[in-house]
């Protein structure tokens, strides 16, 4: 272990951590928007749920290194190549959790809302989404944590999309364990911190119900 190296590279470490977080956040946000749309379709038109989950399940089984590698010939070493796999991997997690969230809303509550004359959009925003929140946040946790892990792998695309994975790849190239360590440890800490923050957020958004993970 070379502590001097770490001290000398603290500012770069900070920048890489920010870059890592940014790449992950963009992927999770885009994945959430797409998955939310898909989930609404799946909930309203039930027969589409099976195919949607099946397709996102197939995408999920493709090894991450393989997915990054497969995109390079098509989209080059671009931000798109770094983000597309991140987005695709979140779909299965999000769709499952969001649909489970909507399913967890008691039918009586929906009927009551209808009887009170709520239009569809209002019912969605005021009744369904708030009640589905605990499960949606559980999905957000899972997706965030796994995406932060995946960003380390996008380091194979080079230093612009490496985040903390950049240190891991560089350290390997120079046979310098300290640098590998400097990339690996913060990425684990980042994942754990984000997970804790989201747990707190979940408790704040839905204080009436303790978070429960879906099946």
């Amino acid at each position: 272990m070379d502590l001097a190296w770490i001290v000398n590279h603290l500012d770069e470490l900070g920048l890489r951590t920010l870059q890592h977080f940014g790449l992950a956040a963009l992927g999770v946000a885009a994945g959430f928007v797409i998955a939310f749309g898909l989930s609404l379709v799946a909930v309203r038109i039930r027969p589409t749920y099976g195919p949607i989950v099946a397709v996102s399940g197939i995408l999920y089984t493709i090894p991450s290194l393989a997915m990054f590698a497969a995109l390079v010939p098509i989209t080059g070493l671009s931000l798109l190549t770094a983000e597309v796999p991140l987005v695709l991997y979140t779909l299965l997690i999000f769709v499952r959790n969001i649909v489970a969230g909507f399913d967890s809303v008691p039918p009586d509550v929906l009927e009551a809302a209808d009887a009170m004359g709520y239009p569809g959009g209002t019912r969605l925003a005021r009744i369904e989404i708030p009640l589905a929140l605990p499960l949606i946040v559980a999905g957000l946790r899972l997706a965030s944590v796994s995406t932060i892990g995946l960003v380390t792998i996008s380091g194979i695309l080079g230093d612009r999309f490496g985040g903390l994975g950049f240190f891991i790849f560089e350290g390997y190239r120079h046979v310098f364990p300290t640098e590998i360590f400097a990339g690996a440890v913060p990425s684990v800490i980042l994942a754990l911190v984000v997970d804790r923050v989201l747990v707190g957020l979940g408790g704040r958004l839905a204080p009436w119900r303790r978070e429960r993970a879906p099946r």
Binding site: T61, P63, L65, G149, I153, I156, I168, P177, F181, A213
Partner: protein
């Protein structure tokens, strides 16, 4: 389409089918490393999961462990393991051991959590009657709980195995063998055929492993044979339900 042409051409070249860097050897390496990692993970996680399920002690510990295990990126585990494993062996400790450590850590949560959930899900009345018949705790576990929980336990091993086979590719970044080498070298040399060929091989192997475990589950006469495997991937769920 040039991508498909390049892939077919790569597969068609006889030079890619022999030697240390050939497809058969890489496939054997990949399977060998995966099997070693899976075996170690089972040795650690299965007894622990069975004990926790049987005694109902340490369930919260297991749930937390599984949560943390999921939060840790495999590539990071490899990185963290390197400084320690090089102390054991400078060569293998840099190239192979870290990957195996990461794969073991990857597979422990699903195996442990499923073993525990499977045992917890066994009908209490059955366990009580076994005890009333004079079975010892060990016999209860071996003759009643494990056979009934088998489908859930196997589902955990299955999901551990398929995660290992897919994620083992990362080891190639650090110079371990296996199919990941085609991805890493393909990207480095901008060889589209090799990259896509590697993708096909890895995805194909993952599917074959899934199918093999599905057959194994079916052979043990389990509910998994009827479509969806009873995989329990989240520890905070209630006990898994079983149809007798």
């Amino acid at each position: 389409m040039s991508l498909i042409d390049a892939t077919v051409a790569w597969f068609g070249d006889p030079a890619h089918w022999s030697g240390a860097a050939g497809i058969p050897n890489r496939l054997v390496e990949h399977l060998g490393l995966s099997a070693v990692a899976l075996a170690i993970a089972i040795i650690i996680a299965l007894p622990a999961g069975l004990a926790i399920g049987h005694t109902r002690r340490g369930a919260a510990f297991a749930a937390n462990l599984a949560n943390i295990g999921r939060a840790i990126p495999s590539l990071a585990v490899i990185g963290i393991a390197i400084p320690f494993t090089v102390l054991i062996d400078p060569q293998l400790g840099f190239k192979i051991y870290p990957t195996i450590v990461a794969m073991v850590i990857l597979a422990i949560p699903p195996i442990l959590v499923n073993a525990e959930a499977g045992i917890v899900g066994v009908d209490r009345d059955l366990v009580e009657s076994a005890r009333a018949m004079g079975m010892r705790e060990r016999q209860v576990l071996r003759r009643i709980e494990i056979p009934i929980a088998l489908p859930v336990i196997l589902a955990g091993i299955r999901s551990g195995a398929s995660q290992i086979v897919a994620t083992m590719t990362l080891g190639a970044i650090f110079g371990s063998g296996g199919l990941g080498r085609f991805l890493v070298e393909g990207i480095a040399q901008r060889d589209i055929g090799m990259t896509a060929g590697g993708v096909v091989l890895v995805a194909g192997l993952a599917l074959v492993v899934e199918a093999a475990f599905a057959l194994l589950q079916r052979a043990t006469g389990t509910p998994a044979a009827q479509g969806r495997p009873p995989t329990v991937t989240r520890p905070s769920l209630g006990p898994a339900r079983l149809t007798p």
